[in-house]
Amino acid sequence: MKKINEKLKKVFESKFLVKILYGIGLIVIILISFSAGVSVGFHRASFGRAWGDNYVRNFGITLEPPIFPKDNFPNAHGAIGKIIKIELPNVIVADRDNTERVIVVNNDTKIEKIRNNITSGDLKIDDFIVVIGSPNEQGQIEAKFIRVIPSPDSLLNNPQTK
């Protein structure tokens, strides 16, 4: 029995086993990172496909086809940009990656400006907003939270307002 214990101790304290454990841990981390990347990529690609397929319905017929931003897929769970059109419950935002996004505002959407809660009726064209939401099948983002912030351009022109 003592011999078996000693042998077991030798095995579990061996450097070879430690290396194997490190190797397995590394493989697990790589696989988790890979699956996270696949999941996020899938969401973005799905939204990008829906956005492209519904572009004419959402924004009307244009002479030029919609162009994806530089890394090919728009963000599916948020938008940041200036409001260019308001047709409640839809608000169209020009995102930073030069794409248009339709934000769907519903009764559950929380809208804040500075420290005050406001309603969708208080949103105005040229307001700069940050939106958190979920994508839908029509290539739109159903907003859960909207924050109206000062436009970066106005901050650059008037740094004292910071």
Partner: protein
């Protein structure tokens, strides 16, 4: 048989005797080769370290620009300014942050830092090895 015996005797008489200081010459040669290898590695890793150090500026500049342009900083500021309100929508916020993260620039930045640190480690190792071999001779 006689020829064989006489050949055997002749070969036994021809025993090889090494020249004087042969072992010292061999040891000196080995040390010289080791010092050359250390010096080569020192220059190679130093060059790599200097190149990576100079790359810090453009890489980190691009990283900060991408962070601002992608909107990651805006989403992150939401988390700090409206943390309590956004707890309910943590999943959407997390996905917004992940989607806006400039992965390529982050990986590049970490890569440059890693290369610099590895180069620094090997340079110090070569300096220590060089100091160990300086003045060393066959005792």
């Amino acid at each position: 048989m006689e020829t064989k015996n006489s050949l055997k005797t002749a070969f036994n008489k021809l025993s090889y005797e090494p020249k004087e200081n042969l072992s010292l010459d061999i040891w000196t040669r080995i040390l010289k080769r080791k010092k050359q290898a250390i010096r080569f590695r020192l220059y190679a890793f130093s060059s790599l370290g200097i190149i990576s150090l100079f790359s810090f500026v453009p890489v980190f500049k691009a990283l900060f620009t991408e962070f601002a342009q992608s909107g990651f900083s805006d989403y992150l500021s939401l988390a700090f300014s409206n943390g309590s309100s956004l707890v309910v929508y943590w999943k959407d916020l997390a996905l917004s942050l992940v989607e806006s993260l400039p992965i390529f620039d982050v990986v590049l930045s970490f890569g440059i830092v890693l290369i610099f640190l590895i180069s620094l480690r090997y340079v110090l190792k070569q300096i220590i090895n060089n100091n160990n071999y300086v003045g060393q001779s066959y005792a």
